[in-house]
Each structure stands twice: as C-alpha cells, then as structure tokens.
C-alpha cells in the first residue's frame, strides 16, 4: 500500500524546473521565492519518484503515449534515481546559496535576473538527461545542458569569464557533434536509438567501433578527462561561485553518466585495451590534476584542478570492470558532487568577504570566517578520502575492486591522489591557524551562504556513515547487472 500518489513523478521532475524557468523569466522580481519553491518542489518530486522506484522497481514512461521509436521514453532505474538525487541535494543547496550570493545590496540586478531562469533551465535539462532512455534524447539534453552552463559561466562578466565561457562553448559543441555522429552511425546500423533495443541488437562491427570511438571521444571531451581537460579550470574557476559549484558537481557528471550507460548497456564488448586506456588517462588525471592544484595561486583555480583529478578517479573503474568498482566510481561521483559544491561555496564566501582568493593572503580572511573554513575542511576530508566521509567509502570500494581484480596499481593511484589532495587541503586549511592581525577591508557574508556551505560539507561527511542506503538504491534495475554476469 503506497502513501505516495501514483503519478508520473519522472515527468514532473522535468516539467517543474521548466515551468520554474519560465516563471523566473517572466517575473524577475519574484525570482528568488519562485526559484526556491521550484527547488523544493523538485526535491519533493525526486523523493516521490524515489518512492515509486523503490516500491515498484525501475520505471518506464512513454511521454504522450507515443512510445519508441517516434516518441520519447523516460526510464528511471536505481542509477538514474541516484543521479537525480545528487542533482536534487546539490541543486537545493545551490539555490539557497544563490539567494545570498546574487542579491547583495551592491550587485547588479541583471545577474540575478538571468541566473534564476538559466539555472532552472539547466536543472530541467539535467533531470531530463538522467531520465532519457534513448541516445538521441541524450544528445538533445546534453546540448541544452551545455548551452545553459555556458550562459551561466558568462554571467560573471569580465574577460576571464567570457573567454572561459567561449572556450567551454566551442568544446561543448564539438563534443556534442562527435557524439551525434556516433548516434547517426548507430541508428543507421541498427534502426533504433532506444538504449534497450540497441543493447539487444548491437554486435561488434567496424561501424559500431567507429560509433563507439566518436561517442566516447565526444563524451570524454565534455567530461574533461585528461588530456581533454584544458577548458575546465578556466571555465569553472571564473564563473560565479554557485555556478562553479553546479558545473563541477553536476554538469561534468552528466556526460560521464551517458558514457557509463553506453559502456554498460550498448558496448559491453568493448575490449580491455580501451578500458585500460581510459584507466590510464584517469590515473594521469588524478596525478596531473593533483599536482596542478598544489601549485595554483588562486583558490578557485585550485578547486577546479582538483575537479580534474577527481574526475580521473571515476575512470579507474573501467579497467576494473566489476560491480564493486562501478559502485565505487558512482559513490565517488556522488560524494565529490556534494563535497565540491561545499568547497566552491566556501571559496565563494572567501571571495565575497575579502574580495580576492589569492591563497597566500588567505590568512587574513579565513580566520574571520570560521564556519566557511570548517566547511572547506570537512569537504576536504571527503575529497582526500579520509574517514568518515563519502570519499572514504568510494575510495575503499575502488581499492577493494582493484585488489580483487588483481590490478593493485590502480589502488596505488588512489592512494597517491589522496596524498596530493591532502597536501593542498592542508595548505589552505593551515592558514586558519596563523596569527595574522592585519586589518583588512571586508564585507559581511550573509549567514545563509556560510551555513549552506557548512551543511553541504556535513552531508559529504554523513555520506560516509550512511552509505548502505544509496548503495541499495543503485541495485534497483541492476544497472551493472550485465557486467556482473559477464
């Protein structure tokens, strides 16, 4: 007996943010309450969908009753649900944070005016992407996501942000086109874009290899896997803080999600050499991103490079190719999303308070923002992968998977990456303990911004203590099931 109304929550999850975007656009003066209400509504709908999926198993909707191949199908299993939840949690935090961030007394009104509709639009694209059941629909949502994200980066104004946004846009379009060409080849070969149908029909052939190469390349470009990460740091670091948070936490994960889906469902026969290559690139990303982070002069750049490193971890699961490994990679994705949101928020607070984010001059700022630096430190614990935190659980699972697959060297990369992260986290946190009495011109940070950052960081820690729940969700519809058998 279900206490939750049996409506199409999956559709609501997409329609609601779209409606929110339109409303925020039409009534910019009411954008904050409208945005917050929408955010809460989305969280409620995701919860409703979660209930439905937990109670009844994986869900499939044919929007408008058309069904594949002409209509649009939505599909929700444990993996989609988990991604939607990550987006809901991080998205709610980002919405609350943005209230303070964009509505400071001296800010230009038009930034807030543009932020809310774009953000709601991005959220809708993101949710639609996680629910898409066909590879063309994935293309459309991916493209919409990219456009909204670029516009949000450009919102910061200034040369850095605009060039960052421009480069991001070109890379994003390029990636999408590669992906789309792959879609064209697959459709030609097998007459469907539906993932389930393709999974049944696709067999190794030169066309499939070409399609796979194109799609994987496009998605890697968008996921910023080393050495295709060149566009990420400038785009992520120059955006306004809440935008940086949502880019690092959610947007790059979307293309990874597609890659994972394709890899598991359509290309399960992908050969081990390619998987090893992805693992190697991931390992290079972990080390390179970690080193670069260590030598950055600006805090937001540092955090952006850490995103490059953390994305590398996700690819370590490919060569391991066992359920524990995939679970570990997804848990890494989940905890990184939450922790990185907290970290960018903390950086945003520091920038807001002191007007700069030069790391060497941080001591004058962080000592007067205890909540913010606590948030940074707690998020750092998760990023380093120290217990108790979501990052630790993820690292444990990946380590276990590496040892079980008798490929212990990936475990070594995990450990090295953790040490590098520890080096830069403590480099920053150490400034909280200096004795600096230099007076400094400052601006008071709204309490909501400090507390949101802290709450997000605490969530990242709690993910380490309540791991069985999200992990149980992942088993619904057994997205990794085929892998398990094979």
């Amino acid at each position: 007996m279900s206490y939750v109304p049996d409506i199409h929550w999956g559709v609501m999850v997409i329609v609601l943010p779209l409606a929110g975007a339109v409303c925020c656009f039409l009534w910019p003066r009411r954008a904050v309450p409208l945005g917050l209400v929408t955010a809460l509504g989305i969280v409620a709908c995701v919860a409703g969908l979660g209930w439905q999926v937990v109670e009844q198993g994986a869900q499939r909707y044919a929007v408008g009753g058309w069904g594949a191949p002409l209509g649009i199908d939505l599909y929700a299993d444990g993996l989609s649900l988990l991604m939607l939840m990550v987006a809901a949690v991080a998205g709610l935090g980002i919405s609350v944070y943005s209230c303070g961030y964009f509505h400071r007394p001296d800010a230009k009104r038009d930034k807030a005016k543009h932020f809310w509709p774009l953000w709601m639009f991005l959220w809708a694209a993101l949710n639609a992407l996680f629910l898409s059941a066909d590879i063309f629909n994935l293309y459309v949502t991916l493209e919409l996501l990219g456009l909204a994200a670029v516009a949000l980066v450009a919102l910061a104004g200034g040369a850095d942000a605009l060039t960052g946004a421009m480069r991001y846009l070109l890379v994003s379009l390029l990636g999408s086109l590669f992906y789309l060409l792959g879609v064209a080849l697959l459709y030609h070969g097998f007459g469907s874009v539906d993932i389930t149908l393709l999974a049944e029909r696709v067999e190794p052939s030169p066309v499939v290899w070409a399609a796979m190469g194109l799609m994987v390349t496009g998605l890697l470009l968008k996921t910023a896997l080393f050495p295709l990460h060149f566009w990420l740091p400038s785009a992520h670091a120059s955006a306004p803080a809440p935008v940086s948070a949502l880019l690092s936490a959610l947007v790059v994960k979307a293309s990874f999600y597609i890659l994972l889906r394709l890899w598991l469902e359509i290309f399960p026969f992908a050969n081990a050499a390619l998987a090893q290559l992805l693992g190697l690139l991931g390992a290079a990303a972990v080390l390179w991103g970690g080193f670069q982070a260590l030598f950055q002069a600006r805090l937001k750049m540092l955090i952006a490079y850490s995103t490059v490193a953390q994305l590398g971890y996700l690819f370590l699961a490919f060569p391991l190719a066992n359920v524990i490994g995939w679970t570990g990679a997804l848990y890494m994705l989940l905890s990184h999303a939450v922790a990185k949101t907290a970290m960018f928020m903390a950086a945003g607070n520091i920038l807001y308070f002191g007007g700069h984010d030069r790391i060497v001059d941080l001591d004058r700022v962080v000592q007067r923002l205890p909540l913010t630096i606590t948030a940074f430190a707690l998020a750092g614990v998760s990023i380093m992968g120290l217990p108790p935190s979501g990052g630790f659980i993820a690292k444990w699972l990946l380590l276990e998977a590496a040892i079980r697959a008798a490929q212990w060297w990936w475990g070594g990369i995990l450990i090295l990456g953790g040490l590098l992260s520890a080096a830069w986290v403590f480099k920053v946190v150490g400034y909280a303990f200096t004795q600096s009495e230099v007076p400094h011109e400052t601006r008071t940070v709204p309490a909501s911004m400090e507390w949101t950052a802290l709450v997000m960081a605490v969530v990242a820690i709690l993910l380490g203590l309540f791991a069985p729940w999200p992990l149980a969700l992942l088993e619904i519809g057994s997205p990794f099931g085929r892998e398990n058998a094979g």
């Binding site: 063309f136 493209e143 456009l147 670029v150 040369a159 421009m166 070109l170 379009l173 030609h188």
Partner: protein, 102 residues
C-alpha cells in the same frame, strides 16, 4: 556504391573539414563557422543514411532528428555569436586569449 553512401561520405568529409578549421583558425567567427560546417556534415550523414534499403521509402525518424538538431544548432550559434561580441567588447579581440594567468 549507392548515392546515399556517397552523401554520407560527403557528410563525413564536411565534418573532418570543419574539425580541421576549428583547430587551425584563431578568429572566433571562423571557429563558429567551422562548428556549423561540422554540424551540417553530421546532418547530411543522418539524412543520407535514412535510406536504409535501396528504393524503399526513407525512414522518417532521422529527418525528425535533423530538424531537432538544426534547432539546437541555431540556438547554439546565436549564443556563440552573442558571446563572441561580448568577448570582443571586453578584450578588444575576437580571439581566445592564450592561457595567460595559468
């Protein structure tokens, strides 16, 4: 070799040409044009390969896809052009600055 296959090859050719132009040209307008050429190439492949079997009625689904794709491409181009103008207004050049501060 069917004519459809020839069209598809031309599409792939356009894609590659666009990719080449995107990489070598520095001016943003040229880069945006290059992206558009690439997109046209992909659309050509999609339409051409819609004729799955010789002589039969072509599959309508790729056509729907191409229309969607064109809509997306147009909006992306609009955004890119607007952004290019802003970059030019801000930096005085319609080019991507070399990584200066990194």
């Amino acid at each position: 070799m069917s004519s459809a296959f020839l069209y598809a090859l031309v599409g792939v050719g356009l894609f590659t040409l666009g990719l080449y132009a995107l990489i070598v040209h520095t001016h943003l307008l040229r880069k945006i044009l290059a992206i558009n050429v690439m997109a046209s190439g992909v659309f050509l492949v999609l339409v051409a390969l819609a004729a799955r079997t010789q002589g039969a009625t072509p599959d309508p689904v790729p056509h729907a896809m191409v229309i969607t794709g064109i809509v997306v491409a147009v909006s992306a181009t609009a955004l890119a052009l607007a952004l290019m103008l802003r970059v030019r207004a801000e930096t005085g050049r319609a080019e991507l600055a070399e990584e200066s501060q990194e």
